[in-house]
Structures are given as structure tokens and as C-alpha cells.
Subunit: 331 residues, 2 copies
Amino acid sequence: MAVYTQISDDQLRAFLADYEVGELQSFKGIAEGVQNTNFLVRTNQSPFILTLYEKLVDVEDLPFFLGLMEHLARHDISCPLPVHDKKGDVLKKLSGRPAVMVSFLDGYSVSRPSRQNCADLGTALASLHLAGKDFELSRPNALSLPGWQTLAGEIMGNISSAFWSLEGAKIDSSTIMDIISTELEHLQKNWPQELPTGIIHADLFPDNVFFLNERLSGLIDFYFACNDLLAYDLAICLNAWCFDKDGSYNSTRGRALLKGYQKIRPLQPNELTALPLLARGAALRFLLTRIYDWLNTPEDALVSRHDPREYIRKLRFHQKIKTVSEYGFEI
Amino acid sequence: MAVYTQISDDQLRAFLADYEVGELQSFKGIAEGVQNTNFLVRTNQSPFILTLYEKLVDVEDLPFFLGLMEHLARHDISCPLPVHDKKGDVLKKLSGRPAVMVSFLDGYSVSRPSRQNCADLGTALASLHLAGKDFELSRPNALSLPGWQTLAGEIMGNISSAFWSLEGAKIDSSTIMDIISTELEHLQKNWPQELPTGIIHADLFPDNVFFLNERLSGLIDFYFACNDLLAYDLAICLNAWCFDKDGSYNSTRGRALLKGYQKIRPLQPNELTALPLLARGAALRFLLTRIYDWLNTPEDALVSRHDPREYIRKLRFHQKIKTVSEYGFEI
């Protein structure tokens, strides 16, 4: 959400000279992406997004992320397409940072997703899962069970001073740690092992999906993409797209999401059965990272922190689900 | 340099419906302007800049700033043109903030101005001064002598803990306060009273001037514009554009700036004579505001602070100038 690294016109023009993209016409630092610096660059040919990777990103992962975007774009998934320079290179350097130019996608994020938005999202997610099948690189999910365990440990040492009010009443840090450790234990015992795996986006929140004229126009921000259970990606979307602002689950949008997904890739019975558990895992994953970010982001930083409590509520909701039909799914 | 106020797609689409600007295609928060939130908004017709005014801006001044931009644009000065809505209004509300849409200007700021850039700047500045002549509103300069006095007083109370190294050697706060108070006294005794006045930009730093294909393509950020001595505006540009990164004065660029200016509006002899003094005033003005911002901006804020020491050096340079010919001007 910020421009961490500044670039000058001289630097940018020298950088663009390596490409066949036309002459620089304007460039603006934009507030997009949490961990990287992004510029909207316009040449007389086209607009582009220029990303400078800041220290938080592991440079060794970049070939996976960039290769994946290119692979998906070639398989008709609307996502940013990395631009090759005259030598054929994609990953370059600018102002001391790894840097990449990608195509600009029209459209914008919706703050209140509609039923149709969720149906389109489901379709796009299933298409992404199918398109990822023959992608040759792989990357383990750093934020799966073992990662959650590590995060929980780190939070445990720091949370003592944190104190939130939940649903009007106060919730203290020991209650939060109880919720987390009980849930972790449950997930470790029951996490499914036999479900179909593949490339997942792993962070497909409304921020990362663009719509234009009421239709999905693009998916962005592949920097959490990895190999994991495909249905877990759907469970992340269920959490991120199908709850109303007041915290209540919206079964109309949930049903639309699942229907849109199954139109392209019908879920196996064991994936459907596992959905409530996967949704608990997804809720715990975002609860943990939100608490971690809450504790580690200075209050006056211009990066907006997301309220962790939202995911305590979602976790509790999924804990009460006995069968997938309670989500309102017609199965 | 930051997005202080977020807007949703719903809010923006409702806002745009008041205008005849086409359908929303994308919007991004951009890192432009220090005090306001800016979005680059694209419709299927055109790109625009949408500005939300944050608390630091005095809303009562907005009709002056917006009227001035419109007046100047109508007089062929390339600057952002405020867009009228269907009712004819320019100043609107969005997300609880005063909001204005202006036209988007192609081009970008240069970090190392060339001789030709300075010549073009001089020409544009003189054209702005002439075009401002028949603008019907006026606004006193809050950052002239009385304003400097107030700022110096506020700094005086806070500076004790600040400590900078200047030109390798350390400079302590009492030395800085001595420089400021001696200079203030000198300027108060000698500040010219009889020079031509009019509308000045008052902040025409390289950040606020766009070039495209080596020619000046636009002037932006009129939020310091006011009525004051026209030659003082030139003195601000002399400080901002005609020193090298190592702190040395560059007479080639200085000469180009003056020549470009005089091509459009020849300076009177008393304006030329006053230039060294006006340049001292301009250097003091930015020294004071930079110290003030330095003391009042948290170190970890994502707003970049400018080093005040640059303007101590410039002030000392101008203090040694006896006649305007020492700037390298042919007069």
C-alpha cells in the first residue's frame, strides 16, 4: 500500500530502453500490493504495472510466481502477463530491487460482492485450477499446518499485551490463544490427506479480483500461490467473499460460488465433505496472519491492518457446521 | 504521498454518475501530492485525477485554487482542468471529504533538470504570471515574512533535540536558530515593497512540472498559489532548479531559467536588483518548512521528509551574492 522505493525518470527510461514497449509517457507510484512497490507506467503503446520487489519477498520464489502468471495467461486466465525484454528476460533489476513489468488489467475490485460476482469468481477459480495442472514448477504452501504452528508460537510470545473486544464483549489474549491451540490440534488430527492437489492462488480476496461491466476481468497478486489442496482455495474464497459486513454468512453468495466452481470443475464427494474443515483451516490461517500483522505493524504506519476478530467469528461459524449442506449448498 | 482516505467502487460509481465522463474502467490510489489523497481514475472516455482533500487543506481556499486552475487552463497554461458535473459544480463530496476531478496530464517530473528544462520552466512561469493577471480572486501568501516569523517561533520551542551534520561538520540547534533569526531580521529590514505583484505558483519544484519528449507538458499542484511578488516565484525556482545535487549553484541552468522567463515577461530593473534578496527569502521559507516538517513527521511515516540542510547551504550561497550578475545572468 505504499511506494517504498522511489525511481527517477532517468532510471525508468534506461530500464524501458531494454524493452520494445514504446516511449515513456507518464508514471505514478500506486497503492497496490502490500509488500511491493508498484508503478503504473504508461508508454505511447500501452499501460503497464511495474513492480519492484521489496525485502519481504523471497527472490528465489519469483521464477515460480512469474512463470505461473505467464502459464495461466497463456491458458486464457485473465491475469497480469509478465513482459519480456529484448533479450527475453522477465526478471530485471531497477533501483537495486528485483523488478518486473506486467500487462495492465482493466477493471476494479468490488467492495460488496454480488451473487453474480461470486458465481464468476467460482468459475475463474476452477479455471485457474485446471489451467495450473500442467505448470511445471511447484512451491510448497508456507502457510499450511506446519506454518500455522510456527505462527501460533511466535504470536504466543507477543500477544500478552494485545486485547480486543469481540462482538461487544472483551476477549482477552488467553481466550484467543485457547481458541487457536484447540483448533490447531483439531485440524492436525483431521486435516484431509487424500484430496486433489494442484496450483492454488491462496489469497483470492476481493482486493485481488477485478470486475468490469459486471463481469470478472482479471485476477492479480499471485505472491501466495503454491501447491496445495484445490478445495482449500475454494474454502479461502468462501471465507473472503460469502460473509456480510455484519459477520453473518450469506448462503446465496456461497451457493453461487460453489455452483460457478462446479460448472468448470465438479468437486469430488470427499472434497465436498471436507469443505467445513478446510474452511476452518482457512479461517485459522487468516486469523493467525492478521494477529501477527496486527502485533508487528506500528499503529501509525500507513499500511492498513485488518481486524483479526473478523476471522475469530468466521472460525466459530465453521466450527458449528456439521455437514456441507448447512452452507446452503444443493448437493 | 499516500492514500489517506479509501473509496469503494460503489462510492466512486455513484460519484461519477453526476458527471458526463463515461463508465468507470479502473481506479488506483496514487502517491502524488503530500497533503491529499489522489486516485488515477480511468473511464472509457479519458483518464482523470480525483483528489480528496484531507484535513490539512483549508476548504475555504479551494474555490481560489480550483478557479485559478480553470482560469489558467483557459489561458493556455497546461495545468489540470477541474471537471464540472452535470449541474456545473466542481467542488463535490466523496467519502466525507471535499473532492474534485481534474483532467490528467501526460508527462513526468525530471530528477535532473537540463538547461532546456530550465528555459522551458522560465517561459511557463512567466506565462503563468501573465495569465494570472486578470484572475478575479486573490489569496494572501501565508508563507511570507509574517508566516516565517510564526514558523520560526514554533520551531524555536522544538528544535532543542534536533541535531544535524552540515557539510561534514556537525551543526547544533543554536547555530541553526542564529542563522534563522539573523536572516529574518535582515529580510524584515530590506524586503522590497515596490515590485510587481500578482498570482504566483509558490511551489514550482521539479516534482510539480511535467515534461514529455523533452518539452514542458504541464504544471501541477497549485495548493500554495497566492498573490505575492512575481519575481519571488522566480527566486523559488532558482533555488529549486538551479543547484546541482552536490549543492553547487549551476549558472548555466540559472541563465537559461532567467532567459526563458524574460522572453515572455522582461523583468523590471528593480526586480533584477532584488533577486538575491528574494532568493534568500525563498531559501529561508523552505528551510523553515523543512525543519518544521522534519520535527513534526514521525521517522517511520511513509511520507518522505526533505533534508533541511540543503536550504541552509542555499541560503548561505545567496547571502554572499552582491549583485545579480554573480548568478551568471547577462544583464
